[in-house]
């Protein structure tokens, strides 16, 4: 009889194993994506990164979540403020790992300090703002990815654009991590054309008066300025130059899109006119429809991102959600990789090199075994501020091909 009982158990177990249910995946719980960003120190950047990620997560959950094997998982975003401090960012990453986060989105602040902890835990980090050279290195840091324009790409595109103009440039960067890394990238990009650079300056972030530094650049014979720093630094440099009556052309990285630049110059909008920003393109050759769709979804979720300034004709100016687009795309690539890998961990990190998704600007977004950058250098374009709005320049082949996006309400 014992044999019969044993056999009955075996047969029952086999029968149960064969009965997998009705084919509908069962709930597997929640997978967490942590967003480590400077919510308190740079609220525009922090909020933009988080909102892009949350929008993507909301859409994925609305579609039923992410199916892994026979289970379906919902996604969740947890915000952690790094206060622009690498130490704080490291603590955030460790806490996220302890809480079981499957991936981390980062502005770049904490990557140098935290990538190793994340790698040991099999957690990928995706940078969606900082473009610093060395943050991403597929050999040394196999778990670090980026969907954002790189400092290298921006610098080389600036050199490619500015050197033929014959300008003598003053290269100015602030002492934030963003500014320092930008300064390094500019030095590398212009090293083949040293004759194009007449001065290099480091300024203190948070300085409200950059007149001495700007005067120094002017005396060095600069006929153009590249200012790489946070939004406040860029605004301060413009104010210092224009208030001295110096109508020098000024060029800046994507931080110039920060509303603070326009807010600081709201009472002298003509001073902003002509500021040229090098940033990642928001539309593909297919046209602006993809971006408009994303912008509409973003505005439906979070409201109209008013900057608080108006055009000369009185129209309200709104911010373009380009950096939200990057975190949105990053989450979608993560979801595709999760499906491909079948779950989180090292296999997710490996799968991130093998998948692509259609990005919110219509371009493909993805990484590969040789490159963990989701925005290629070619995708950097130049736009000039005109009446508080950005318009692609006409003297660069890529920029010329891009449409002017709606930036007023």
């Amino acid at each position: 009889m014992r044999v019969r009982a044993l056999l009955a158990i075996v047969v029952s177990a086999l029968a149960l194993a064969g009965c997998g249910g009705d084919g509908k995946p069962e709930s597997g719980g929640t997978l967490t994506i942590a967003v480590d960003a400077p919510f308190s120190r740079s609220p525009y950047i922090g909020r933009t990164i988080a909102e892009g990620a949350e929008l993507a997560v909301a859409e994925l959950n609305a579609q039923g979540g992410v199916v892994l094997g026979r289970k379906v998982y919902r996604l969740k975003v947890v915000r952690r403020d790094n206060e622009l401090s690498p130490r704080r960012a490291l603590a955030n990453v460790r806490r996220a790992i302890d809480d079981g986060a499957v991936a981390i989105l980062d502005d770049g602040t904490g990557v140098d300090a935290a990538w190793e902890d994340a790698e040991r835990a099999g957690v990928p980090i995706c940078i969606t703002f900082g473009g610093g050279t060395g943050l991403v290195d597929e050999e040394e840091r196999p778990n670090v990815f980026r969907v954002a324009p790189t400092d290298r790409g921006i610098s080389y595109r600036l050199a490619e654009y500015l050197v033929p103009k014959g300008l003598k440039l003053g290269l100015i960067h602030d002492d934030t991590s963003y500014g320092e890394k930008g300064g390094e990238a500019l030095d590398k990009a212009f090293q083949l054309n040293p004759e194009a650079v007449v001065d290099r300056l480091t300024v203190s972030a948070g300085s409200t008066d950059l007149s001495p530094e700007i005067l120094r650049a002017r005396r060095a014979g600069a006929t153009g300025l590249v200012v790489w720093g946070d939004g406040a630094t860029i605004a301060a440099a413009i104010i210092a130059a224009r208030s001295a009556g110096w109508d020098v052309p000024i060029y800046a990285p994507p931080a110039a899109e920060d509303p603070i630049v326009r807010q600081q110059l709201a009472d002298r909008p003509e001073w902003l006119d002509g500021l040229t920003v090098a940033t990642g393109r928001m539309t593909a050759e297919l046209g602006p429809t993809f971006f408009h769709v994303f912008q509409a979804k973003y505005q439906a979720a979070y409201g109209i991102p008013r900057i608080g300034v108006r055009t000369r004709s009185g129209k309200e100016v709104i911010a373009l959600p380009d950096y939200a687009m990057y975190s949105y795309d990053c989450v979608n690539v993560l979801a595709a990789a999760l499906r491909s890998a079948g779950g989180p961990g090292d296999k997710l990190v490996a799968a991130l090199e093998q998948v692509s998704v259609r990005g919110s600007n219509g371009d493909e977004r993805g990484f590969n075994e040789h490159n963990h950058e989701g925005v290629i250098d070619d995708d950097v374009f130049f736009a000039k501020f005109t009446d508080m709005r950005l318009r692609p320049v006409r003297d660069d082949p890529l920029s010329r091909s891009l449409p002017v996006l709606q930036q007023t309400q």
Binding site: M1, V3, R4, L6, L7, V10, A284, E285, L286, E353, Q354, V355, S356, V357, R358, G362, D363, E364, N368, E369, H370, N371, I376, D377, D378, D379, P397, L398, S401
Partner: protein
């Protein structure tokens, strides 16, 4: 006045009927049929097929105007067997705008060459290119392929054998393929004009194509075609090895034997170089270039095929067969001009395949498995049959309990 039809046909009706019958008869005789396209993909490979990756190719843009050049370097061992295949692929994008495409291949690694204006990406089984071209952009990369998979689609096979008192190097065109295609009959002059058009258009993929009026419906015909392969190079022997040696199929030049052979295009697909009087195995330096057919389209005497057939009794069927075979040979040669695919199926392309004797790297010696690992490896082979035996035993016991 009432017209009387009776048994008599009015002259106009008769004329109309005659005309329509004539037209029907003419239709039955002359069936316009386009000859095969020179961009026909005769077999699945080459080039290696592009994997389905979710739409890397830029939007709906199917064709990115590009000039493609590929230099394939094949390292072979002393017997002529390939053990390493690398491709330097150079693409020149000739448009202003975005480009994004995937090249499928059994790729192990890819590295941009110094002249490349962009970096290629690597995925399992694919190379990725994406970026913006301001009118002209050079994309160039050295691609390392998995040799076993790549060797399958090489156009040339080489066998080096010791034969009696000498050595035979056999060069074989491996592009030959049998396929079912159109055949039939046509007026000799029509077929000759079609041949002239085939010759004139050559391999130009954007040419208008050639349409031939067949006599009656075309029929399916089994045909064997091959891309003509021009093979040039040297077989380098050790010093003194050729002293007193007799060479056939090549020309002795000092310590080496020069080879210059066309495989295909009305010539045999196999060329043997026989070197008797030595047992030394030569080092090969051979370049194979797929070329469009020339001989098959040369009119025998006269300036054109049309001139040639005038006043002669020539089989229309044979001329049709020649025209079809020539078009397919163009297509086959074009196929081998891209071992790796390019984003422009209609663009100019060229390829050379360089075969060089090299030292085959020693095979990686399998690591001696650790005792635990070894146990784990054989365990399933023991446990599974054991489990089945136990299960069978249980069933027997149950039946008897």
């Amino acid at each position: 006045m009432r017209r009387r039809w009776g048994g008599r046909w009015p002259p106009l009706t008769l004329l109309a009927l005659a005309a329509s019958l004539g037209a029907v008869a003419a239709t039955a005789r002359a069936v316009p049929v386009p000859l095969p396209s020179v961009v026909l993909q005769v077999t699945l490979e080459p080039p290696f097929p592009t994997p389905v990756t979710g739409g890397e190719n830029e939007g709906a843009l199917l064709r990115i105007p590009t000039v493609s050049d590929q230099r394939v370097t094949v390292r072979v061992d002393e017997e002529g067997d390939p053990f390493s295949v690398r491709v330097r692929q150079r693409l020149v994008v000739r448009r202003t705008g975005d480009y994004s495409f995937v090249i499928g291949a059994p790729v192990d690694d890819v590295l941009a060459t110094p002249e490349s204006e962009s970096e290629p990406g690597l995925r399992r089984g694919a190379i990725l290119w994406a970026g913006f071209s301001a009118g002209r952009k050079v994309l160039s990369a050295d691609v390392v392929l998995r040799p076993r998979e790549a060797a399958r689609v090489l156009p040339l096979r080489i066998d080096v054998d010791r034969m009696g008192d000498g050595v035979r190097v056999r060069l074989r065109n491996a592009t030959r393929v049998s396929l079912r295609t159109i055949g039939g009959n046509a007026r000799p002059l029509d077929a000759a004009r079609a041949l002239d058009a085939v010759r004139r258009q050559g391999a130009r993929p954007l040419a208008s194509g050639v349409i031939l009026d067949f006599r009656g419906a075309p029929v399916a015909t089994l045909r064997t075609i091959a891309a003509p392969l021009h093979v040039r190079g040297t077989l380098e022997f050790p010093p003194g090895a050729l002293a007193g040696a007799d060479v056939r199929g090549g020309v002795k030049q000092g310590e080496s034997v020069a080879v210059d052979a066309l495989l295909g295009d009305e010539t045999p697909l196999v060329h043997d170089v026989l070197v008797s009087g030595t047992d030394a195995i030569p080092k090969l330096r051979v370049v194979a270039t797929p070329e469009p057919p020339v001989r098959a389209l040369e009119p025998p005497g006269g300036r054109s095929w049309a001139d040639y057939v005038r006043g002669r009794k020539i089989s229309g069927r044979a001329l049709v067969a020649r025209a079809v075979a020539a078009r397919l040979a163009f297509a086959r040669a074009r196929q081998y001009q891209t071992l790796l695919s390019d984003p422009d199926p209609l663009g100019p392309r060229s390829a050379t395949y360089r075969f060089i004797t090299g030292e085959r790297p020693p095979r990686a010696t399998p690591q001696q498995p650790a005792s635990v690992g070894a146990g784990a490896a054989w365990l399933p082979f023991v446990l599974v049959p054991l489990g089945l035996a136990v299960a069978a035993g249980l069933v027997v016991l149950w039946a008897h309990s």
